[in-house]
Amino acid sequence: MNSDVIIETRNLTKVYRDFWGRPKVLALKALDLKVHRGEIFGLLGPNGSGKTTTIKLLLGLLFPTEGEAFLFGEPATNVAKNERIGYLPEESYLYKFLNAEETLHFYGRLFKIDPAERKKRVDQLIDMVGLSAAKHRQVREYSKGMQRRIGLAQALINDPEMILLDEPTSGLDPIGTSEIKDRIRELRERGKTIVLSGHLLADMQDICDRIAILHRGELKELGQVRDLLTVQDVTQIKTKDLPPAALTEIEEVVRRHGAELLGVDHPTTTLEELFLRIVRDSELHPGRRRVGDRPGMPAPPAGEDGSSAPTAPAAGRAS
């Protein structure tokens, strides 16, 4: 396996069964993906799409029904790989009877960290997440935002190479969300690989380099955020001071009238639109859509969202 690949899944499948072993839910179906070192990778999907299941499979909290998952080239069930991983669960599943300091020391002791170094890191992390004033209060007394922050701190106690964040901004107010996003960007700047899941699309669009969109356990889209958001079959020309009469022959008119051509580019939609489109398409036509089916992607309905709809007619890809 390429050392640049941090996570690799091959045909990763998970079927939840009932007490008698009968298949109940196909939570994940033949997932193949790779996450590379240093990128922020987003797992998107509606509720029940298999995002959390994927993360749990990667962490060894669940066992695959079929297929394999590797982290740092080792099987997901290998305990040793956890030395290099940080994990923030969907909810802050922390021990409510411990205070912030005790929580971080408890998790810190599970790693091979020198006691003096551990103490330093605990202080730094508490400071980083802004809980210095509340570090002696038991977690049960914390607000949800504070619990998310101490949750993030515990995920970073070992200074991990890769961090798995399951819905990191869930339940946070805009300020809290912004703070968490800032932290994530800081971590990327420090060369960490980050995998996060969520359905708050604006947040994901802001911070992810690559995303995978899951729907009912199937991978529906995978790629660079910018590439995915580009409307490939539409050319957008941005002009300035263009008279309305020149609309029919844009380039000639622009040149003939000596107007300044500001750029010829592909217009982009928002991640939210893309996401909704894929989900609706998948629900209308189950099983039809495959990864990379971009040409089949319908154009957004005109006027549905004025800010994002292309303003120019389709004219092929401009160079």
Binding site: G21, Y93, Y107, R109
Partner: protein, 923 residues
């Protein structure tokens, strides 16, 4: 015997049961059974006998069946070993035998777990079948049919045995049994298919190797079984529980169908054991790998976490402490001695109650705390943040156990400390009060009253000590002078003592010695049959004779003399070179003996001189000092303590006690022969210095020491004999007790009379008693954590409580089930007996209901019997009775109990590890 019941019987036998014990000639003269049947006193529960430390030590042994190494002469040496090692019913009679037996039990549990886990995994992972019968796979349908037919076969066999159905045989074997075997074959085929398909699908190399290894083990077992000579068949049949009249061989020496069945059974039995070893090896390798990866810091982290969780989240330890203090505040209202004459009971009551209270509270705490935390951790998903750290599953299990045991340790120390303070305040206070009352009585001239109070004080102080008792082997002589195993039964149902009649020749005789025959062999030395193993109940001469004293020196002289006598004996027929070496050695010993004799004479002279000086001294303190110096040259008298009961056939005179005589007989004397029933009354030992001293041996002034005493009921009667009686005894001694009062009977059990080898600290003994509670808590913690790994907390809690109740209260019943001694049948038959008010001894009429009940019992009882190897013997770890009765808990007993506790706790924790490792915590 149907195939299904046969299968269950095998499973039972594999786990150490004793099938058809009555039909097994090897089992019927079993020494252990014989001992328990013949001598009621070995487990005497009452008073001091009940706290017999010897019995407690035996209870603390590993849960293995004692060996009966009867092996057919026709078997080759390797076949004997193969049979012993492959047979879990018996322990190999070597030092590592008990360890091997433990491994066998763990192996079979591991085999069951491994097969069960793979069957589950295989069934869950299999794909939709192409061909089905009524929605089920053909093989599944066949298995279901086989189970139903198998149960039907059990029913048919029961009906045939009750003569309600005619017996139909095919080739000498019951048709129902043959059909049952066919069902067993279907089951085996189903298991093979499921295991192979599941393991190959998962492609787990280790488990594929295990499966291959198991089949190799099967082949080896079949090979060994087929190699058994036909001459050994009667013996092998007996081992398997075949009736003595079963025909296993034709007159020509060929195997009959029953003989073939016996060979198959031997093979299956051995195969199961060997397969278990294969699984054990796999488990051991996995666990060793896991253990090598364990780091103390992670264990500490998990342990500390459990500690904090216990105190902060559940707060159960605080509740335990509060309840203990609350109960203690009112205890003295309810704990009172039966009457003022029985002050010793006060100590027993307080100590027993406090230890019981500590034990109950700690047990409840552990039973509630340990099975709750892990299921809640999984339920509320807090475990996610733990298992995604580099902590190993075994570290989670052991770390949690360490944390809980830390809480238990803190509470044991807290409860123990409070208890000791409480005892000091109450019992210590009563002792001080008695001392004052004695002084006041003396001042008032009430000597009788003072004597009575002194006796009470003595009793209290005796119980507040840690006596190390040394017991002997008890036999009786009846009123006509005939030796007996037991004395008179006075008809009291619950009385565990035998009685001797007053003013007759009847006597009870305790024999001490390092190598003494079993009472049955002593009284009937020429009886036919196998002899019981020798008993070892020596007088601890080294402990009782103080070093450097007159008696110790005299004993040293005898030690040298014995050594010399042995060398003299070896000279007979020795080679010339060996003879000269022996002569030189004898000369050296003679010189050593002379030197010791001179030293002895000098010490005796010094003693006499000091005594004379003391007598001549006018100054009383000076005389006392001299006497003290003189006494320091002698070993103190050997203390004997006795607790007897009296059965009165007439009232006697008010206030007049029952009198008894006691006699200590040196092994050189012929007055207490080892074989009282034999015609030759020879002494136990030949005096090697007899020729030197003739009839006037200064080293042993008297060979028989007698006395008379009045028996105080409910009291510990104390007496002592001169230490010189132990000189040259080599640990042998006889103590005889007779009742002197006519028409009265003196009752005694083996544990009722003992020598006191030492008297230790009550405080240290109390702490050892608490250690017993700690060990119970450790085993229960392991069970609680184990149950919490795969059950929801309410079920885990119930399972933990069930294990404790079964091990503490119902262990004797499980023992009866496992050894086939349950009278009145299994649970279903017993239910019918209860409903129909039938007693346990009569055979029930063979109605349909009775046959059905017996059939169900035939299936259920063997499975229930397996519980004895899974349910920990909690009562064996409870040493509080010894503390309450003032007996020392020996380190050997404590050590045995630690091993016992570990032998349960470790497998449970390992099982918990495998369950947690293979469990999807996020599922």
């Amino acid at each position: 015997m149907s195939a299904l019941s046969l299968f269950l019987l095998l499973a039972w036998a594999q786990a150490g049961g004793e099938p058809a014990a009555a039909a097994d000639p090897a089992a019927s003269p079993s020494p252990s059974q014989g001992a328990s049947a013949e001598s009621p006193d070995t487990s005497a529960p009452a008073a001091e006998a009940g706290a017999n430390p010897v019995a407690a030590a035996a209870g603390g042994a590993l849960p293995v069946v004692q060996p009966t190494a009867l092996l057919a002469e026709e078997l080759a040496n390797w076949q004997k070993w193969a049979l012993l090692i492959g047979d879990p019913i018996r322990t190999v009679p070597v030092w590592w035998g008990p360890i091997l037996s433990w491994v066998k039990i763990v192996s079979l549990a591991g085999l069951l777990g491994w097969v069960g886990a793979w069957v589950m995994a295989s069934l869950r992972g299999r794909r939709r079948a192409r061909v089905t019968i009524g929605g089920a796979r053909p093989l599944d349908a066949a298995l279901l049919l086989a189970i139903l037919i198998g149960i039907g076969c059990v029913f048919v066999r029961q009906a045939q045995q009750s003569e309600q159905l005619p017996q139909v045989d095919v080739a000498g074997v019951a048709l129902a049994s043959l059909v049952g075997m066919l069902c067993l074959g279907v089951g085996a085929a189903w298991l093979e298919t499921v295991l192979w398909s599941g393991i190959l699908r998962e492609r787990r190399i280790g488990d594929v190797l295990v499966l291959v290894g198991m089949h190799l083990a099967l082949l080896v077992a079949v090979g060994i079984a087929l190699s058994m000579p036909s001459g050994a068949m009667p013996y092998l049949g007996a081992r398997l529980g075949f009736p003595p009249d079963a025909t296993l061989l034709t007159p020509e020496g060929e195997l009959t169908p029953s003989g073939v069945v016996a060979i198959v059974l031997i093979g299956v039995q051995m195969a199961l054991t060997l397969m278990g070893f294969v699984v054990f090896l796999r488990i051991a390798l996995l666990v060793l790998g896991e253990v090598s990866a364990i780091r103390p810091r992670r264990l500490y982290a998990m342990g500390k976490f459990s500690w904090v969780e216990s105190f902060r989240k559940t707060r159960i330890p605080w509740a335990v402490l509060a309840i203990f203090l609350l109960i203690l505040a009112f205890t003295h209202w309810f704990l009172q001695p039966p009457d003022s004459q029985r002050q010793a009971e006060l100590s027993r009551l307080y100590v027993g109650t406090l230890m019981l209270l500590s034990s109950v509270l700690l047990t409840v705490m552990v039973a509630v705390l340990t099975p709750i935390t892990l299921p809640n951790d999984i339920r509320f998903q807090t475990i996610f943040t733990v298992v995604t750290k580099p902590v190993r599953r075994l570290e989670i299990i052991w770390g949690r156990m360490l944390g809980f045991m830390g809480v238990v340790t803190a509470l044991v120390l807290a409860l123990g400390g409070i208890s000791l303070l409480y005892l000091e305040r109450n019992i210590g206070g009563r002792i001080e009060q008695l001392r004052q009352e004695i002084a006041e009585a003396r001042e008032a001239g009430l000597d009788n009253q003072a004597g009575l109070l002194e006796a009470q004080l003595d009793q209290l102080q005796t119980r507040r000590s840690a006596r190390l008792p040394v017991g002997g082997s008890l036999t009786f002589v009846d009123s006509l002078g005939e030796p007996r195993i037991k004395g008179i039964d006075v008809g009291q149902e619950l009385e565990i003592r035998s009685f001797v009649e007053g003013a007759t020749q009847a006597e009870a005789s305790w024999l001490f010695g390092p190598m003494i025959p079993h009472p049955v062999d002593r009284l009937f030395p020429n009886r036919p049959g196998e002899r019981y193993p020798m008993l070892s109940m020596p007088v601890p001469v080294g402990l009782l004779l103080h070093e450097g004293t007159i008696e110790d020196l005299a004993n040293d002289i005898y030690t040298v003399a014995y050594e010399r006598a042995e060398l003299e004996a070896r000279k007979q027929g020795a080679e010339p070179s060996e003879l000269s070496r022996l002569n030189a050695e004898v000369s050296r010993l003679e010189e050593q003996e002379q030197g010791l004799l001179r030293e002895y004479e000098a010490l005796v002279a010094r003693y006499s001189d000091l005594v004379q000086q003391a007598e001549a001294a006018g100054d009383a303190p000076e005389a006392a000092r001299l006497r003290e110096q003189a006494e320091a040259l002698r070993s103190p008298d050997v203390p004997v303590q006795m607790t007897f009961t009296v059965y009165r056939t007439t009232k006697g005179r008010p206030g007049e006690p029952v009198y008894a005589s006691i006699r200590v007989v040196h092994p050189f004397s012929a007055e207490a022969p080892m074989y009282p029933g034999s015609r030759e009354n020879s002494p136990l030992l030949i005096d090697p210095l007899a020729r030197r001293f003739g009839g006037n041996n200064p080293l042993i002034p008297e060979l028989v020491h007698s006395d008379t005493f009045d028996v105080k009921e409910y009291y510990t009667n104390k007496w002592a004999f001169p230490a010189s009686m132990l000189v040259g005894s080599q640990g042998y001694l006889t103590i005889q007790v007779q009742c002197l009062s006519p028409t009265q009977y003196l009752g005694m059990a083996e544990g009722d009379l003992f020598l006191v080898a030492s008297q230790g600290s009550f405080l240290a003994n109390y702490m050892k008693g608490l250690a017993g509670i700690w060990l119970q808590a450790m085993v229960l913690t392991a069970i609680g954590v184990w149950a919490g790994t795969f059950l929801s907390w309410p079920v885990a809690l119930l399972i933990t409580v069930f294990f404790f109740a079964a091990g503490e209260i119902f262990f004797p019943i499980l023992n009866q089930l496992a050894t086939g001694q349950m009278i009145g049948g299994g649970p279903f038959e017993s239910m019918i007996r209860m409903v129909s008010h039938s007693n346990q001894m009569t055979e029930l009429d063979a109605t349909l209901g009775v046959i059905l009940a017996k059939s169900l019992d035939a299936i259920v009882v063997p499975i229930m019997s397996l519980l004895i190897f899974v349910v920990p013997n909690f009562s064996a770890m409870d040493l509080s009775n010894l503390v309450a009765d003032g007996f020392a808990i020996q380190w050997a007993t404590l050590g045995a109990n630690i091993l016992l506790a570990l032998s349960y706790a470790v497998p449970f924790s390992i099982a918990a590890y495998f369950i947690l490792k293979n469990r999807e915590v996020a599922a």
